[in-house]
Symmetry: C2
Subunit: 664 residues, 2 copies
């Protein structure tokens, strides 16, 4: 039955123009073209095959990743790909590798923190991959708290060098990707000591390995930190451990754009504002939010297609069973995730604009929006990665037993995704940063300082404290203004209530610590509002294509009303809506699910994912699930022989009652 | 620093008798002794070592499991272990294996569904492991819906045999553990056809493999279905695929306790009540709830100990940082899970009593409590497994970055645990069964039929619809009666509201389908009430030991009030409590966290887990985390050589700009 499209009847049901939705999803026609071209390039190249990944031992897996990385780089050079194309190609190769850190952290660190001279020296080497770099910040005993790092960089004026040293076991660098086996260089973060005094944590370019034979340089101990969650997944990456025994580097390998150490060992601030670093943070977090929508949409695509293929129950007398996507329990779990994929896509797109805006302001020395932009990106990173990690696992469960097979693609997608909740800022730590900013914003409301950006709504304080939701019928919940007001009122009232609780503590820091769990909830409410409001803003734009906007309106409503249902306690306890209105929202949600149902397959087709990228038997475009599951099973190494290795030693003696004498 | 107890200061803080708590956790002094003895036996035996499991290839991993299973059986025979001891030993070996299915499903199926003659023939063989059996029910296309199975067993009166056949691809047996490579026999579920008529699904004992050379018998195709979630984890199990091509078995291999097929091919019901099967279901689900508390407590033990070792932030001027367990955000995520571990333990213990009660009633032909017992166990299976799966992943996140390492033990614990949400009844399907029972119970309230068992509270309908929570100060929430009433009122009001919504549908089945997501929520509310009420009942017993009961009272309150906070929308929308009372509950919860804090380490010590069983560097009893993490890293195969395999082929050509000519 090769070539048959088992989902054709589903695709025929769609009430909108899928090709136009693909453009909306990609962001522009150009973006779609690049993405589509690169996805096909990767999918058609046998070197990038990945369906056997879970069965490979660590060493073979890792060697295979080295091969893919080299091949990708070769293709990038041969085809003279642009940076945009190269990034897309690497993302469709879909395998964590040292190159992620080289391009994503090492190069940007030098660009952001290196002087002009340093950039001129190091960037050409890095751009040609004549050196391979990583980003060595976290230590065995130190993650979130960068100021707690223990590695030291002591200036020796006698030789004009820094001495990099790991004074304790817990100061061992730990986790940096690409460090364990591949990187020749690293940007190492260490406490600067000069003239016997500490001057905070700074970055230093340190060569780790010989460029001749790849052996670690004297004084350097380096290795891989071992296996991580899942099979395949992040085990393709050589996250590393690194210890320094008084390693000397020239003074000019400290990244000195913001602060310089002179020949005499004096610290001199440059005229470059420290705030520049926030620009990089906004950039990195924007990419993380964008990655969240990619990972989430992959999982949703798999679960949606399989839910249309899978049938269970519902037949009398042995007839055909009901597609599981037709069950309201399945819809109420799946469709909010589909809506979230689109919501995160659009808020990610908006963050790209925010990054440009912040960059332009920084260049004009306008720092006024920085704290807000920083809080906003921190919060969205936290919100979208937590939601995505949970959603991937929910999608796996929505695929029932078969979702547990590696061939479903979902276990590896989960295992490779979840570290996003921890890296680049632990999600709870980030929420507390948002909360701190919100409390400050609320406390300044009376002072005439106008809240900016995503907190601008707080200027309507009186309104938001008094407003009553006007919903009287279920359909009233389809109005964007009604939803927006409810979410604004909820977020603001929660912030105000927390601020009031805080004010009862004599010591504000103690209060903040004591109430931190409640404060994190207020931060979540604020961040959810951002996502909802950016989705609504997107819908205010002109969106061409038959039925496209209507579908997005439905998804926007689902996203918001599902959140309202999940966080109902917030909305009710702050009096933003009544129990009756909550019940109407639920009724409306159910009718929205029915509206999505015929469009569900087309809505995931719009992601335009190749079967290669999805990497899932359950999510195949053609829906030919059972035949391919069956075929995939026989490829397992255990099926190399009918009688398993170990039968003679362990099974046969058991069956023959001869264990007593067996040597096991 | 070997031998130092880094957590000694934490243990010294405990305000209760840990040894007495160990007895409470185990259930009795006898149970503690057996468990303690078996745990040490396994931990001290090098054959049962498991810390390298994640690094083994599938074949080596599987062979190693065969060795452990044979060794365990040898030890069981040599030491003449009792059934209780043997079960404990197998559970501490802590590795899914074919023996789980042999003892847990194959033997019980024959006991429960076989006639006296069949039991006499097959059980001695199984008890000595002269045959190894599995339980072949689910098919590639059929899981939850047993009545949808496609495999056929057609009676042939000419030869007095059944012909077992797989008519379609989707009828392939798929998932049964132990089937793929080991089992010689299976209980196969198939549609019985005799005289051209279908007679529902029944079990048949089918030999799969030769007892001489282990080759599959003619007409049988059997193999492994391939890799599953995680490394190590369930990949030690040979979940299998099985197809029949007209395989013939004697008529007396149909399990005929309830229904018999005569020599002439007639179906005759025996006088054994069909309800007997529910007894088995109650038993199996009780073990699943008990397993949930084991898995959850392991994860909590790891996260709690590591949270006391790990320090981050909080120091000014480079002093010692704050233990992360002292942060309220950490406490508010961790301590409810600690409380849940105890709550699930006690409800599991109660289920053991329920099973005995049901069994005795069945023997007396009293079926009156069966539907309630069935609903109750279905709901508790769903509730505890879903909560435990989420909790293990939450514990992993609570360990920050290091929780992502396999050496933390948490990734494998998660991967090996999650199928519990799907097997033995998908958790959502089970909730709907509970909801159906609850709707029936509510509808019969007026009719004079008294609700029994865990639904007995519904008899106080009027009370529960009118009662008002009396809480005025935070401490009022420490009263069990207050908590119980709030949970009863919430569950009952949600049920009544759902019943009213249902009654508006002309077709009740359509209504049930349409409202299923809301109905599942009512079922959850009811099941949470059961857990809370059984915890409270436990505390009404005499519990010896200094401070033991006080600690349990705190945990019980935390369990309940955390649920109240998470499901606040339920409580507020049904008017069971006011927003003010909700806020007081939150205040009380925070003070309870402070009370648990000094006892946290001792409360996880009370689980009495060996370091072998925990299998976690982060959860080590002595808290010597960093040294052991560092040592574990170097054991990874990637660290066999300093320069990785693949350097010459892939890294060097990249660095030397020689990729263009390289063959990759």
């Amino acid at each position: 039955m090769e070539g048959v499209d088992y989902l054709a009847h589903e695709r025929n049901k769609a009430q909108f123009d899928v090709d136009e939705m693909k453009i909306v999803w990609a962001g522009s026609r150009h973006a779609f073209d690049v993405s589509d071209r690169m996805a096909r390039l990767v999918a058609s190249d046998p070197v990038f095959q990945k369906d056997n990944r879970a069965m490979l031992s660590r060493k073979v897996l890792f060697k295979n990743t080295l091969r893919k990385a080299a091949h990708a780089w070769k293709r990038i050079i041969e085809l003279r790909l642009s940076e945009e194309e190269a990034n897309q190609l690497r993302s469709y190769v879909d395998e964590p590798a040292f190159t992620d850190l080289h391009w994503g952290m090492f190069v940007p660190a030098i660009k952001g923190q290196g002087t002009e001279d340093q950039q001129q020296k190091w960037l050409p080497l890095a751009h040609k991959m004549q050196i391979i770099g990583c980003y060595a910040q976290t230590e065995l005993g130190h993650g979130s708290n960068v100021q707690g790092l223990e590695t030291t960089a002591t200036f020796d004026p006698a030789t004009d060098e820094f001495v990099i040293h790991s004074p304790t076991l817990t100061s061992s660098k730990w986790w940096p990707g690409g460090l364990g086996k591949v990187s020749t260089h690293a940007v190492v973060y260490a406490r600067l000591i000069t003239g016997g005094q500490e001057h905070g944590v700074h970055g230093f370019i340190v060569q780790l390995r010989s460029l001749d034979d790849h052996m670690p340089l004297p004084g350097i101990t380096v290795g891989d930190i071992g296996m991580k969650f899942g099979s395949g997944a992040y085990n393709t990456m050589d996250n590393g451990v690194l210890r320094f025994d008084h390693v000397r580097i020239p003074r000019n390998q400290m990244l000195m754009r913001v602060m310089q150490v002179t020949r005499e060992g004096k610290c001199v601030q440059s005229n470059v504002p420290r705030q520049l670093i926030y620009g990089t943070m906004v950039y990195v977090r924007q990419t993380i939010v964008s990655d969240a929508s990619s990972a989430l949409s992959r999982a949703v695509c798999i679960a949606t297609r399989y839910s249309a293929v899978r049938r269970q129950f519902g037949s009398q007398d042995g007839g055909i069973e009901t597609q599981v996507i037709d069950y309201k329990t399945q819809q109420s779990r799946l469709f909010p995730l589909l809506a979230s994929a689109y919501a995160f896509r659009f808020v990610g797109e908006w963050l790209k604009w925010l990054y440009l805006d912040v960059t332009q302001r920084l260049q004009a020395s306008d720092f006024s929006t920085l704290p807000e932009a920083h809080a906003c990106t921190a919060g969205l990173k936290s919100l979208t990665t937590s939601a995505t990690a949970d959603a991937i696992e929910e999608c796996r469960k929505l695929c029932g037993g078969h979702g547990y097979l590696t061939s479903s693609g979902l276990p590896e997608l989960f295992a490779v995704y979840v570290p996003a909740c921890t890296y680049e800022g632990d999600n709870v730590v980030l929420l507390l940063q948002v909360a701190r900013f919100l409390m400050k914003t609320v406390s300044q409301l009376g002072s005439g300082k106008k809240p900016v950006g995503t907190t601008a709504y707080m200027a309507r304080a009186e309104d938001l404290l008094q407003c009553h939701c006007i919903v009287q019928r279920a359909e009233d919940w389809s109005k964007p203004s009604v939803i927006l007001e409810a979410f604004e009122a909820r977020a603001f009232r929660m912030c105000v209530a927390r601020a009031q609780s805080l004010s009862k503590f004599p010591n504000p820091e103690e209060g903040f610590a004591e109430l931190s769990a409640d404060l994190a909830e207020a931060a979540i409410a604020h961040c959810q509002l951002i996502v909802v409001s950016k989705f609504i803003e997107k819908l205010e734009q002109d969106i061409p294509g038959k039925g496209v906007k209507q579908q997005l309106e439905i998804l926007c409503n689902i996203y918001a009303l599902n959140l309202l249902h999940k966080h109902l306690g917030d909305f009710l306890s702050t009096g933003c809506i009544t129990p009756k209105q909550a019940s109407l929202a639920n009724d409306h949600l159910r009718s929205l699910y029915s509206q999505v149902r015929p469009n569900a397959i087309a809505l995931v087709d719009a992601f335009n994912y190749t079967d290669h990228y999805l990497g899932s038997v359950l999510g195949r475009y053609d829906g030919n699930v059972y035949q391919k599951l069956y075929e995939a099973a026989w490829k397992d190494p255990l099926n190399d022989s009918v009688v398993p290795d170990g039968y003679q030693e362990y099974i046969r003696p058991m069956l023959k009652q001869q264990l007593r004498n067996a040597r096991l």
